[in-house]
Symmetry: C2
Subunit: 82 residues, 2 copies
């Protein structure tokens, strides 16, 4: 579950970073984040905190909410079933 | 900055919990979270991780994205200006 959320957020981060046409390394440097750590974030391997989510969203010029968009619509199903 | 995101997420969590008409204590117990910690989350005092965001969202029967809705529209302004 948490792993799937980490993956979803990581994929959204990657998608927005690629839109900006900037490399992982250059982006990590621009927000003062360790390159290896940032790479693991995009691969869904890090249990990010709100502080780091905010830092990444600011760098990507999107809102934190944009990083939680569910492209697979699993969560939409969860919400609709409640 | 991160404090404002913590507050925003905490307020959204509180709003959804109140919709369920369940007390802070009962909700914290239902998701196996320490009551004092959970109280601090609603007050925007905790730098939540994705894992705990997911745990809370599941308990509230909402998607994690719902906890990042910006009721003040600050982030919408940020996005539109980019």
């Amino acid at each position: 579950m948490s792993t799937s959320l980490q993956k979803q957020v990581g994929q959204n981060i990657r998608r927005h970073r690629e839109k900006l046409k900037i490399s992982q390394e250059a982006f990590a440097d621009s927000i003062g984040m360790h390159r290896a750590y940032y790479g693991a974030v995009e691969r869904g391997l890090r249990n990010l905190t709100l502080r780091n989510i905010d830092r990444i969203a600011e760098g990507l010029k999107v809102s934190p909410a944009d990083l939680f968009v569910d492209m697979t619509s699993n969560n939409r199903a969860r919400r609709e079933s409640s």
